[in-house]
Subunit: 413 residues, 2 copies
């Protein structure tokens, strides 16, 4: 019997609908390659890794593997648990290498956002910096996920398509709901995205595809001007086309001076402790409408539903997320390290298609990708047809959700 060859996989950062599909892809890749003895799952990302809190994953998929992998792929959040930890000091990295060697782990897969890519970078860098130390040889591969779609290099991120599909679907439904009365009313929908407006932009797909979508859209990519907002809103309200106006707003919009619009503070009055509460951007806009227009107005936060509503996940997103996980295993086995898996959209083809490639993580980590200028428009919808063409294929298709007794079945380790 030769030396054991094991692998480990972890999930980190905020949950998405697709992070478990990527985990399913890594599991599938390890099952199929025949070269991995044990695939460990680290509980709660690197936090659990450091405590050697592992579970052996492959035995869960011996029976009925396809059904089990499909079920895992349709389960929201992070089935292995997550963390928000960045590693920093060399002593911490040395301890990680000790554990890797102890468990004969030759391949390290980390699914996450910017912080996770930073972890992958630090671990692989350490090996480069210490080539003389004869370190245990481990391949480190990062696999992106974030509903925010704000990672560099990759055409888009796993997780974004499903969140965008939820936003577009829900936005159409909210607009139908708003359309039933004849009274003038404003509905403000706050959508996630602290630094980039990708998810808010996806609400425009509802407008484009069905006509029932937002009338005004505000993104972090453009400074927010309260006077212009009130002016645009009044214009929409005074049109005879329809009595209701729907506004889509990104949580991260800022005034020209760089302060977040959401920072407007409210104080609980009859509360002896008198602490301050941070309102959201939607609530801040609602207050502006109350003060300066005075018509009926409400705000709706889509909140965490955007990242966990896997009952309406995008098939494109879920299958790509799985593919990218499988591909990560192949790249690691081929000897690559310090890489993040990326999508490249194949150009000049009739139908949407992506290729998967691995990029040095240095070129990706700690960069925020906003909506590019050539996707933005100066009209009320904030983005142009180029942006719509980019987003459309990502929300395409529906997964087969398995329901039992009326609610979806999820996978649990």
């Amino acid at each position: 019997m030769g030396e054991l060859v094991n692998a480990v996989v972890g999930q980190s950062g905020g949950p998405t609908c697709a992070i478990n599909a990527t985990l399913a892809g890594v599991i599938k890749g390890c099952l199929d390659c025949g070269k991995i003895d044990t695939l460990y799952g680290m509980k709660n990302g690197i936090e659990g890794f450091e405590k050697e809190d592992f579970i052996s994953l492959l035995p869960f998929f011996q029976r009925n593997p396809e059904r089990q992998l499909d079920l895992l792929s349709a389960t929201p959040a992070a089935a292995l648990g997550s963390c928000r930890k960045k590693i920093s000091q060399d002593c911490e990295i040395e301890e990680i290498y000790r554990i890797l060697e102890k468990y004969s782990i030759r391949y390290f897969f980390y699914i996450g956002g910017n912080d996770s890519m930073d972890t992958v970078m630090k671990l692989s860098d350490y090996a480069k910096r210490n080539a003389d130390k004869n370190l245990y040889d481990v391949k480190f591969i990062g696999i992106p996920k974030t509903i925010d779609n704000d990672l560099g290099v990759t055409d888009h991120t796993p997780g974004y398509g499903s969140a965008a599909k939820f936003v577009a679907t829900t936005m159409q439904e909210i607009c139908r709901d708003c359309a039933v009365y004849t009274k003038k009313a404003v509905t403000i929908v706050e959508i996630m995205g602290r630094d980039a407006g990708w998810l808010t932009a996806s609400s425009v797909l509802a407008k484009f595809l069905t006509g029932a979508g937002p009338d005004l859209v505000y993104l972090p990519e453009k400074p927010f001007d309260e006077d212009a907002f009130i002016k645009d809103l009044n214009k929409k309200l005074s049109s005879d086309e329809k009595p209701y106006v729907v506004v889509a707003v990104s949580e991260g919009i800022k005034f020209a001076d760089g302060t977040y619009v959401a920072e407007k503070r409210v104080k609980v009055n009859d509360d002896p402790f008198g602490h301050n509460v941070l309102t959201g951007a939607g609530k801040a806009l609602e207050n502006m409408v109350a003060d300066r227009i005075g018509c009926k107005c409400r705000s709706i936060e889509l909140n965490v539903l955007q990242r966990c509503a896997s009952h309406v996940a995008s098939k494109c997103d879920i299958s790509e997320s799985r593919r990218v996980g499988e591909s990560a295993v192949r790249h690691a086995l081929a000897g690559e390290t310090g890489k993040m898996m990326c999508f490249r959209r194949v150009k000049n083809e009739e139908f949407y298609r992506v290729e998967i490639f691995a990029e040095s993580v240095e070129n990706v980590a700690n960069i925020v990708k906003s909506i590019p200028k050539n996707f933005l428009s100066s009209d009320c919808l904030a983005v142009n047809d180029k942006c719509i063409d980019y987003m459309l294929p990502l929300i395409n298709g529906e997964i087969d959700v398995i329901y039992e007794d009326g609610i979806p079945v999820h996978f649990e380790f």
Copy 2:
């Protein structure tokens, strides 16, 4: 050619996922019976009726009727528009009778909640009170809808099952989302229901079916006690079972003195107009946690998504809503008037089954049906197995949602 026999149908009150399925049922009933020359749709309920704002509905369903009716049934909100108007004076009623005669309308169908049943009652009562006046003979039938499930006599209301399915589905997803971190945290989910806790109770289905559901549930049926809440929450937080606690709370919970918990007011500080804002029940509980426990806490309002998320509608609800619409036509043609259509659950059968019957609207209108005492429990989940058995069949089954380019297709007149 004999005298024309026409009918009219309208929708009123808050939108639901099922109110268009009931409209589809009325249309189907009129198409099939061969006795209705024109079926008018009143735009925006009785408000549009009084302005004679009608559209002729049957021509929309000449081609491909089954597909079109299915599409209408899967469309949220009120396809004919809605209103929140109650009729009151006799002169208003006389004007309505004038319009009914003018358009040869012999059958009047009104889909709505309590206010709508009040309208049906007043219109049919007027005929009774004025038997000597030789009024135009019209049959008035009310068809219930409300996500709140708080109408009397009927076993449950069309619209409730789909809203309950959304709540249970979303609650499971939120709980998966909460489960990913190891830090102690509280998530409060505010659910609709001003006077009755039916919808909040449906969140318990997620717990019952999957284990991933709320840990603490607060309903309007029980006075809310802040100290008991903090005590129960601390107990859950200090258990080693899991670090997160999820609380489901009805928007309508009240303190023992009858004041709404949501009435705790906040004041916008840096706002020269200084108006007051009404916080929701969820926000009020979040503030209590911040003041008295201090751990990480957030609140989520499910908001209008509960009544418009038809992409995850209950098949049981949608098909019953259609059946009750068809049945209304049969009852009207049989000469009944002043009735509301109701469901009766057939007892002592192996499987869930309902019968439809018509009840005098006097026995239904202006009554609020809360969760009965024998459905309530004294434990943290607030409702018992009897209540779960009652709710379970109502969320059962999924409808075939037609997607185009990634988002659902809706019907529009």
